[in-house]
Every structure is written in C-alpha cells, then in structure tokens.
C-alpha cells in the first residue's frame, strides 16, 4: 500500500501518522507539501492532525483552499481513499469532501484525553478489522470536535450507515447527552463519518497514537491493518 501524508504549515501529527503507516505497510509514507500541484501514485492519502495555517480562521478553512487540496479532490473524484484525522477531518468537511462541520467543543475548552469509540459499521475499508459494536480506546486532542450537520444530512448519514464511529462509554453505551462519554457534545455522539462512496473517512480521535503497546495499547491498529488488507495491490 502506497501512502501519502499531506503537510500543511502548522500540521503537527504527521510524524505520528507516518510511524503508524510505516508500521503496517513496511514502507515510509510520502510527505506531500501543501504547495504541491501533482501527486505521486498513491493508494491512500492521509490528512493528519495539527493546526493548519494556525487555524486562526475556522479550523481547516484555509487548508481546504491550498494548492494540494485541488489534487486531493481530483484524487477523490478518481475514487481514491482518503483518511482525515482531527484537523484532517475538519479540512475534509471544509473542502466539501465530507458533510457536516466541527464546532467548538461543548465545554468550550481544548480536550486531550482518552475516549472510547463504538464501531458502527464494519463495511468500510477503514473499519473492516472491527466488528460492528466493537469498542476501542483512542486519544483525542482538539478544541473543535463537536460534530454538527443539518437534520437532512444527519438522516442521510444515519440512513445510509455512514456513521463510522460514535463516542461511547468504556462499556460501549452511546448516550449523546452524556458529557462523560460524548466529550465534545457531537450530534448523535458522532466521532467519524464515511463518504457516500465509502472511500473517504474523517474522524476526530487519533488511532495513530495507539499502535504500540509501549504507548499504552494497540487499540488504533485495526484501522491501519484493515486499510492495508483492503488497499494492497
């Protein structure tokens, strides 16, 4: 699987992501500079976490208009697979590649702690290594992760099974009104969504930071294992 990681000025989790991808693919990902106007041959593009362009405007708003994003959109139109994590998820929504928006956390503070995610579908390349209903742990670290969308979009996402992950308790109970599990106040406790073609996934928590027992566990690893299995040529 050939992977590329987009680096914007202010991106700061590209190294974490590179370690996770290197670990499962055995090859180093290509680092893609925000000003690049061509892409190498890739199976997966990752938009990693960070504060692209400082995120002084709406998070991801400026990155969505950077030169590389024209190429990323073209890649998406060709049916390419894209994973956006944290700031990457924000950028995907700003770029219109995924529906909805990420608002300021409900508690109005930056949150950095472990959360639990319930897998809502195993029918995607990103979640195929889990079973529906599996619960895993992942660190989250964001100020703007409160997923929101209009009622129509929400009905569509839910109806088409395009919610990939929801915030849950350690025991797997989802309760959107429970701030102890749905930390940022997301609608329907949505933590990650999938595109209509099943090939673009955005999520707020960081599976890439939990792929080594030394760092506290391997809960995030199935996502990368699944991608390798799905995308290897």
């Amino acid at each position: 699987m050939k992977t590329g990681i987009v680096v914007f000025p202010g991106t700061n989790r590209e190294r974490d992501m590179a370690i996770a991808l290197h670990g499962v693919t055995g090859r180093k990902p290509e680092m893609l500079w925000h000003r690049d106007t061509t892409l190498p041959d890739l199976d997966l593009i990752v938009l990693p976490g960070g504060f692209s362009y400082g995120d002084y405007l709406r998070c991801g708003a400026m990155a969505a208009h950077s030169p590389i994003m024209r190429e990323v959109k073209a890649f998406a139109e060709r049916g390419g697979h894209i994973l956006g994590v944290c700031n990457g998820f924000q950028i995907l929504t700003e770029a219109g590649l995924l529906p909805g928006a990420l608002l300021r956390n409900g508690g109005m503070r930056f949150l950095s702690q472990d959360c639990y995610l319930r897998v809502e579908t195993s029918e995607t390349p990103f979640t195929r290594h889990w079973k529906k209903g599996d619960v895993f742990r992942a660190p989250l670290a964001h100020g703007d992760g409160n997923y929101a969308c209009d009622a129509e979009t929400l009905a569509e996402l839910e109806g088409e099974g395009r919610v990939a992950f929801r915030y849950a308790s350690a025991g797997g109970v989802v309760d959107a009104s429970d701030r102890a599990s749905n930390l940022n106040g997301s609608v329907n406790a949505i933590a990650g969504v999938i595109s209509a073609n099943n090939r673009i996934c955005g999520m707020m928590p960081h599976p890439e930071d939990l792929v080594d027992p030394l760092m506290g566990g391997v809960d995030g690893k199935p996502l990368f294992d699944g991608l390798v299995e799905a995308l290897v040529r």
Binding site: R15, A20, G50, F110
Partner: protein, 736 residues
C-alpha cells in the same frame, strides 16, 4: 512626552531600573551621556533578569559537571549525553510577572520562549513540562489566573505540536499577588549537530528570521526585575503576545537549515530581544557587530531605534551565517513563509554599532558592557529558626485524614489541567501525566527513553531553605528513579522575593547550598537554569508579601531500554513493599496543614547518602525486572502514596498494621524522605533479603487485591470513594 524625546539623565536611568551608581558606570564606560537607545541597552543588559547580578556569586557554587555533561550553564540550555550519539537539551525558565498581568499571554509566551532556547541549539523539542504555583483557591482572582495560565500553556503547546507531559501545581496564599509559571522544554539532537551562540567570522552576515518586530514587550526584562505594586495591571503593554503557529514554522525552518552547514551561530531573541541576542552573540565570540535597523522587518511604521532594540516581540531568531550560504538559508525561510533579513554583519571593532535612518543610534564597547556589569554581594541575614511543631493529636482518624488529604488543593487530581494539554502528540509518550512519578517519552527511532519531572516543596523551603533546597533535588532524583531511569542532570528555576532584603537573600543562599550539596552527593549536576527575583507584591499600605522560596527543579533521566520502565499503577496481585526508613516526621507535612490547620515545625531531614543507597537499590531492582510498579513517597506520606497507586491501577490492597511505636498518623502521613513503594508480583522475600544485605530498609506493607483500601483498623475505603474525593477539587474550583 514620548520616550524618544526624553532627556537622558540619572532620573531616566532610575526609571529604567538602573541605580545612580550603575548609571555612573555607564557614564564612565561611554565617556559621554549615552543616547536613549544606549541607555536602554545598558538597562536591560544590567537588569537582574539578564545579568544575574544578585545571584551570580551563589550560582557559581553549584556543581555543573559530570562525564555526561556536554554543555553546562552559559549556553541557551544545558546539554547531556543520552547515548547512541544523541544529546538531550533542556532548560526551565520563569514567566511569573507577565503571567500575573496577563495570564494567557504570559504563560503562552513562557512556553514559546523556552521552546526557542532549546531548538536554537539544534534540538527538536520532544516534551514540555511546567511548574505552577497559584494563590489561595479562596482568592477570587486565583480562578481567573489558573484558567488563563492553563489555557495559555495549552494554547501554545498544543498548536506547536510538542507534548506537554508533566509538571506540578501548588496553591498557597503567598502566591496571591505573584503566581509562578515555570516552563521547561526538553529536546533531542545529534551530538555532532549542536548549535552554539558565539558569533565568529568578521564580515559574516547577521540574519534576522521569524516574526516582524512590533512595539510589544518593550522593557519586559526590566519589568520582571522589580516588585509589583497596586498598579501592576497597568503594565500589561509590557507583556508580549505569542503566535504558536509562527513558532511551529520557525522550529521546522531552523531544523531544516540546521541540517546544512550554513549556520555559524544562532540565538533566539528572548528577554531584551534584539539587544541581548546581538550583544551576547558578539560578546561570546569576541567580535563586534554592526546592525542596520532599517533592514529589520517591522510590524508597524515609525518605530524608533530604542523601540526596536528593546522590543520583546516573540518568535524571532538571530543567526550568523556563512556568507556563501545566505541564499540557501533565505530559500528555507521563504519556503516556510517567514521573514528573513540580513540586518548587519560582524566586525573586528569589539563594539555594537546600531544605525537607523542614517544616524548612529548606539555605539557601545562590548567588553565593558559585559565585564563591568554590576555584581552584588547582597547582605545575608541569619536564617530564622523554624516555628515549633507544637502538640500533635489526631481529631479525625486515618480514614477521614486520607480522604481530606487526597482531596486537598495540593494533592487533588490534576486531570482537569492535563486534559487541556495535548500529551500524546508525536506518538512517543510512554507515560502520560499521572501514569508514573516522572513522564517518560521515547526517542523516535531508538529504544532510549527520557524520564522528566519538576519538583519543589515550597513550604519546606520556607521553614528550612537549606533542607528544602536539598529536598527539591532529592525528590526530582527519586521521581526519575521510580520510573527505572538513571537521573542525569537538572535545570533550576530559582523563584524568590526581593534580593535587596537580607532575609530573602538568606533564603536564597541557604536553598542554593542545600541544592548544591544534594546535586554533588547524587551526582546530579545543574546544567541550565533561570533566576526570578523580586517576586513580591507591595500592598497599598506599603507592606510587602513575598512568595514562598521556590527553587523549582526540572530534572532529566535516561532509560537505555525504555521498555523496562514502570509506572505507578498497582497490578492486580502481589505485595506492596515499603523501601526506606519511616520516622514519622510531621513538621511541615500536608497532614499537619490540612488536619490541624498549621504550617509549623521543621522540614524533613534529607539524608543524601540514604537517598542514594535506597534509590540505587530501587533502580537496580526495576532494571532486573522484579518491580511491577513504583511510587516515591512525598507530599502526604505513605498512605497517600498507597492510595495514589490504588487509584491509578483501579485495584485495592490490605494494609498491614504499623507496629512501630510511632503514632499512627505520623507513621501513615509523615513525610520522611528517601522512601519508595514498590509492587512486587514475584518473590518479595528475596527482594527484602537483598535490601537488607545492601543496608536498605524494606518491609511488606500491604497485600494487593480487591476494590478498596483496607486500613489496619479494618475499615475499607472503596476505590470509587477515593477517586471521587480526589477528583472533586479542580472541577469544583473552575467549573462551578
């Protein structure tokens, strides 16, 4: 009247913080009345903040060498050998005064400044820590300061992408008008790629990179060298404003350029900005420097030479480049969309010459500026004896004492704070805050781990500055030992009151003596540091309130195999062994303060030989794989440490009765030093026998298991109850 129109005389010099005697020296050096810009340069370079004029005599007594020390004090940060050709570069620095005036920006720019001290030497920053002291929780302003400081540290560190992995927090009314924000950064570099600040090569270009210069932070270094009065908040314009996004770009651009051979010398523009960076680089290199201020990137029009030389605008660096590499360097900074300007060149004159709009605004000989900087041997009063301990009785019993202690401001869960700091970014954080006595981060691409901590017990330092200074070092050494790491070196951040008062100097001198002795015995040299004096508030009635003496110690240890580290969470089974001698010392203990409402008695004795013996024993047993979890004993003593291990593991234990002849509250809550708890799942008898053979006291204190803490009197406190007592304070203070 603007500054530019002011007449330079002794009165203006006083306004700039120079004494009449110091101004006299300026006149002698210059042989004429200095220009306003020149007076500004002298006043910041000779400020307490930049010159260490009250502290230098005593700082020299600290041990600074060891075979693994590559660079000690004198560079931007300390550098130690951590193996495999790698070096750890670290320092701690205060941003106390700005954080009181404007908590968010004060704390944020504190983080930014210490990051620059580390990456300017060629290191990628891998961890941030911070030691915070706030006023009484009952003081209404405390909540606002805590909120701003925590948001500021998080806002900067999270964006710049360096994990904030540890630190400490205390509350005490002595910090009501003067909180302490001490920020520490640790970076890693290849030993053959370390960059220093001494300029060299007459004719070489002097290059300015980073953000533009504005009118912020002018005279910040002088502001930090005076007491606060009731008008302190009017000094807000002297506080700088940070931009972590630019800092992130600056880190990446500098590290990219540092991979080439372009840089001769580099220094960040910290306190006193362009002045201190240019003066120090040229001075260390024994060369002169010509600066052309017309070339300096400026945020606003019409800035004077005085303003530009004194500005403390953030995220700026000064470099001396090889001339043939200038365009290569320009391309790197343009790629990262940062300002890049050649603003001068090195000369052989031994002078700093500053030109602006066709005029020479400053022309100062560098040697006298450094050599004739004032050094004071301030009067030192005899130390006051600690207050008598007074009678001891236990009005509430072990169970209630424990619950009260683990819920008190100094011991309550810090999760509310940690959960606003990104501690995982970088993907190398092995122990996040609360997971072990010291944070542990892995060095990417190696098996090396760094153990990092900050420590100080200010109430000990007030009662007995010498013991307190030694204890701060010993506790840092213990915390690193408890992870299995070998303690290597420390950075100190010495926060004290007004050094012109003999009783404050007495605290300072005794604390340094205690620190120095501990560093020598524990082979734990000081490789960098910072002194923050004048941490006092003047009340409207003229009286002053000094902070508790707070010599904060930041420390670093190394694990050659990071996989052998242990945390503090109890395993599911086994026994808990207490290593070290328990004498039941209640003087200055948290139990005394929280249960009897007194801060009396002497600080605990620090027996450094015993510290070393016990710590070396514990570290060896961790390395041998015999220890599952380890926790040092400090604030709150034995029972608090047991409770912390139980809460972290979600596992209880059954405590054995004391049977020592010591009063129960003294045995369980006394704060004797040199002690650890180790969880043993294997053969505890063998470990205890080995301890005895090495003259180390060790005994089984509890059997691990169950979901509560069973006290010797048979009462059981559930883990859930412990946690709810432990977790209530911060949300109650901040979210109510």
């Amino acid at each position: 009247m603007t500054a530019a129109q002011k007449t330079v005389d002794a009165a203006l010099a006083r306004e700039f913080g120079l004494s009449d005697e110091e101004y006299g020296r300026v006149l002698t050096i210059m042989g004429r009345t200095p220009s306003l810009t020149e007076l500004g340069v002298f006043s910041v370079m000779w400020s307490e903040h930049c010159s260490y004029k009250s502290s230098r005599k005593w700082l020299r007594t600290l041990p600074t060498t060891a075979p693994w020390v590559i660079h000690g004090p004198g560079e931007n940060a300390g550098v130690v050998d951590i193996g495999e050709g790698l070096a750890a570069i670290f320092k701690m620095e205060s941003h106390n005064h700005p954080s009181f005036i404007e908590p968010y920006q004060g704390a944020a720019t504190g983080v930014g400044g210490i990051l620059r001290d580390v990456f300017t030497m060629g290191a990628r920053p891998v961890a941030n820590l911070n030691a915070l002291r706030f006023g009484s929780p009952e003081n209404p302003r405390t909540r606002q300061i805590v909120d701003g400081v925590v948001r500021g540290i998080g806002g900067y560190g999270n964006c710049v992408g360096v994990p904030t992995v540890g630190g400490e927090v205390n509350f005490h009314p002595a910090y009501d008008g003067n909180p302490l924000v001490n920020a520490m950064t640790v970076g890693v570099a290849r030993q053959d790629r370390i960059f220093l600040s001494a300029a060299a090569g007459v004719g070489n270009p002097v290059v300015y990179v980073g953000s533009k210069t504005g009118r912020d932070g002018i005279h910040g270094a002088t502001m930090s060298s005076a007491e606060f009065d009731e008008n302190a908040l009017a000094k807000r314009p002297t506080v700088q404003v940070g931009d972590p996004f630019v800092e992130k770009l600056l880190i990446e651009a500098c590290l990219e350029l540092m991979a080439t051979d372009a840089i001769v010398a580099i220094q960040d523009m910290g306190a006193a900005g362009l002045t201190s960076s240019s003066v120090e680089m040229a001075g260390k290199g024994g060369v002169g420097i010509d600066l052309d201020l017309d070339a300096v990137p400026q945020r606003e029009p019409g800035m004077t030479a005085y303003e530009m030389m004194l500005s403390e605008s953030q995220e700026r660096m000064l470099m001396v480049l090889k001339p043939e590499r200038t365009e290569l360097a320009r391309a790197v900074f343009e790629k990262w969309e940062l300002d890049f300007a050649v603003v001068g060149h090195l000369t052989d004159t031994g002078r700093i010459v500053v030109r602006h709009r066709g005029a020479v605004e400053a022309d100062i000989p560098l040697d006298p500026l450094a050599d004739q900087a004032p050094i004071y041997d301030r009067p030192v009063a005899p130390l006051a004896a600690p207050e008598e301990l007074g009678p001891i009785h236990d009005p509430i019993g072990l169970e209630q004492s424990l619950l009260r202690l683990i819920g008190c401001p100094d011991l309550a869960s810090r999760a509310w704070i940690w959960n606003q700091y990104d501690s995982a970014v970088g993907g190398q954080t092995v122990r996040r805050p609360g997971g072990a006595d010291a944070a542990v981060v892995k060095i990417e691409g190696s098996e090396i781990g760094l153990a990092l901590t900050t420590d100080c017990t200010p109430r000990y330092c007030r009662a007995n500055p010498r013991s307190g200074g030694a204890q701060a070092v010993a506790e840092a050494w213990r915390n690193i030992t408890a992870t299995g790491a070998k303690p290597l070196a420390v950075t100190d951040n010495l926060n004290f009151g007004n050094p012109e008062k003999p009783e404050i100097m007495a605290q300072f001198v005794a604390a340094i003596e205690g620190m120095g002795e501990a560093c020598r015995v524990l082979d734990f040299p000081v490789v960098s540091g910072n002194v923050s004096l004048y941490n006092e508030t003047r009340n409207p009635d003229g009286s002053t309130q000094a902070i508790l003496p707070t010599p904060a110690i930041g420390a670093l240890g190394v694990l050659s195999d990071v996989r052998k580290t242990v945390g503090l969470a109890l395993p599911k089974s086994g026994v808990l062994v207490l290593v070290g001698e328990t004498g039941g010392h209640l003087g200055q203990s948290l139990w005394l303060r929280e249960v009897l409402g007194r801060e009396t008695g002497d600080a605990p004795v620090v027996d450094l030989e015993r510290e070393k013996r016990n710590g070396d024993f514990v570290r060896e047993r961790i390395a041998a794989g015999e220890v599952t979890a380890c926790h040092d004993l400090s604030d709150g003593g034995l029972l608090v440490a047991v409770a912390e291990m139980a809460m972290a593991g979600g596992v209880g234990c059954v405590l054995q009765s004391a049977e020592t002849g010591i009063r129960p509250e003294a045995f369980w809550f006394g704060e004797d030093q040199a002690r650890y708890l180790v969880a043993i799942e294997g053969d505890a008898d063998a470990l205890i026998a080995r301890a005895k053979a090495q003259s180390v006291s060790a005994r089984v204190i509890a059997t691990i298991g169950g979901d509560g803490l069973t006290l010797p009197n048979g009462a059981t406190i559930s883990i859930a109850r412990l946690r709810s007592a432990n977790e209530a304070f911060f949300p109650g203070l901040m979210e109510a």
